[in-house]
């Protein structure tokens, strides 16, 4: 229990530091900024406590907000992702998976895992940019931001996933 908590806390700190120190400054062509910290939310196993997942989502979003001066935006988006993550995991996981199924590149296969990450990242980025811009005067800008950010983030998350060793 405590080991799980500490492991998660370590992930949060690591991802937030990588985001705040490096990735916030990455800005491909003026549009695509990767937001790697939602990898943490995609990593929860099937059957995890949904309330705990929501709280983790809120906290990691709020921490990310500190670095970008956007209080509430990432927090709201991460909470939404934490809310829908179990449902999408059910959709993309193999049908005969165990009750404590852990999503990963190996356990789901490249195709399913990629689509799983893509869906969650797309939901996150859409809400994030809609809240940030908070108007629809330049919709084409928002679309490019959302699509660019989503693709970049998913590629980075796939890279992390392929580097992790399976237990």
């Amino acid at each position: 229990m405590i080991a799980t908590f500490l492991r998660r806390l370590l992930w949060v700190i690591m991802l937030i530091l990588v985001q705040g120190l490096i990735l916030n400054r990455v800005n491909v062509m003026g549009y695509a900024t990767p937001m790697i910290y939602i990898y943490f939310l995609t990593d929860f196993a099937k059957g995890s406590n949904r309330s705990a997942l929501l709280l983790w989502g809120f906290v990691i979003g709020l921490l990310a907000d500190f670095f970008t001066n956007t209080p509430g935006i990432a927090a709201a988006s991460c909470t939404l992702v934490a809310f829908v993550q179990p449902n999408f995991l059910n959709v993309f996981a193999p049908r005969d998976s165990a009750d404590d199924f852990h999503p990963s590149l190996k356990s789901m296969g490249f195709g399913s895992y990629f689509r799983y990450l893509l869906t969650l990242t797309f939901i996150f980025q859409s809400l994030y940019y809609l809240l940030e811009v908070f108007s629809l005067t330049h919709p084409e800008d928002i679309y490019i931001n959302i699509v660019g950010g989503t693709l970049f983030t998913v590629v980075l998350m796939m890279a992390i996933a392929s580097m992790r060793k399976e237990k």
């Binding site: 530091l17 705040g20 120190l21 916030n24 800005n27 003026g30 549009y31 900024t33 949904r50 309330s51 929501l54 709280l55 989502g57 809120f58 979003g61 709020l62 907000d65 500190f66 670095f67 970008t68 001066n69 209080p71 509430g72 935006i73 927090a75 709201a76 909470t79 939404l80 809310f83 809240l131 940030e132 811009v133 330049h138």
Partner: protein, 285 residues
């Protein structure tokens, strides 16, 4: 009753979800409306410390560019000094600087600071500097860089301040066209970081491309005459009632590192008033 309790137990995460979303939105909207949530920004102690460490490391990487820019600026300033000196020599007998103006310039103290974090790719950018209320910085003070206008202090903590730069769609600074006097509001349209728009310039205004745009001095934040940029293009406003001038900003935010905070605020008025009283007393004696 039992069914209701079971229902609540099974779906309690729905309520938690709604609660957390409401919290996020309260944060989002409060921040826009009030200026009280400074601890939820990069000016808070922990983020400020981390950003400061990082900027100490990364500041070495841009030294070369900054050096060449400083040299360039030095040459320009030297040229300007020699020009001004020759102008001054011509005007020596009837100096145009009034004593009041001089006392205003003397009372305008500055605090040097370094930029420790900055965004440029958003619609509402902020930058954080490493001086705060303990260095005498208050919200609404003006911030200038080596080559011109930067922005206005938005929030302060003890050791750090959050600055609302020109590159923020919420920022609006009263400016005029140098030597012509026509006023307008300098705003950023959220597009290119090197350009801003001078809006609400009257239809009858007379100016040319390449004219300089400077602060008007009609607010307490900036004294008059601080360079903002040069006019590069002229458009009509949407309602056709005024001009919109595209201004190339003199500050390159990509390279911005060292800034000065202008401690104008009330001290300036107070000091000029005091000087006037002194002068009156001297005259009476």
């Amino acid at each position: 009753m039992k069914n209701l309790l079971l229902f609540l137990q099974k779906y309690n995460y729905w309520f938690l979800f709604l609660l957390l979303e409401v919290c996020s939105f309260i944060l989002l909207f409060q921040y826009n409306r009030y200026q009280g949530s400074v601890y939820f920004t990069s000016a808070n102690a922990v983020c400020g410390y981390i950003n400061n460490l990082q900027s100490q490391v990364t500041s070495y990487f841009s030294l070369k560019e900054i050096n060449s820019k400083l040299t360039e600026q030095n040459i320009q300033l030297n040229l300007e000094v020699s020009q001004l000196r020759s102008q001054l020599d011509a005007l020596r007998d009837s100096s145009t600087i009034s004593p009041e103006m001089k006392s205003v310039l003397d009372t305008c103290r500055t605090v040097p600071a370094s930029v420790i974090s900055m965004t440029q790719d958003r619609k509402n950018n902020f930058l954080t500097i490493n001086k705060g209320s303990s260095d005498g910085i208050r919200p609404e003070m003006g911030v200038v860089g080596g080559s011109g206008l930067v922005g206005v202090v938005f929030e302060t903590t003890t050791h750090y301040s959050l600055v609302l730069p020109l590159l923020n769609t919420r920022s609006s600074i009263s400016c005029r066209i140098r030597n012509r006097g026509y006023l307008g509001n300098l705003k950023w349209d959220g597009d290119e970081t090197r350009y801003a728009m001078l809006e609400d310039v009257p239809r009858h205004a007379y100016f040319r491309k390449g004219d300089y745009v400077e602060t008007s001095g009609y607010s307490k934040t900036f004294p008059a005459g601080i360079l903002a940029g040069r006019i590069v293009a002229v458009y009509d406003s949407e309602d056709g009632m005024s001009y919109q001038l595209k201004v190339k900003l003199s500050t390159d935010f990509e390279l911005l590192r060292d800034v000065q905070v202008l401690q104008t605020s009330n001290d300036m008025e107070l000091n000029t008033l005091q000087d006037r009283v002194k002068k009156l007393q001297e005259e009476r004696q």
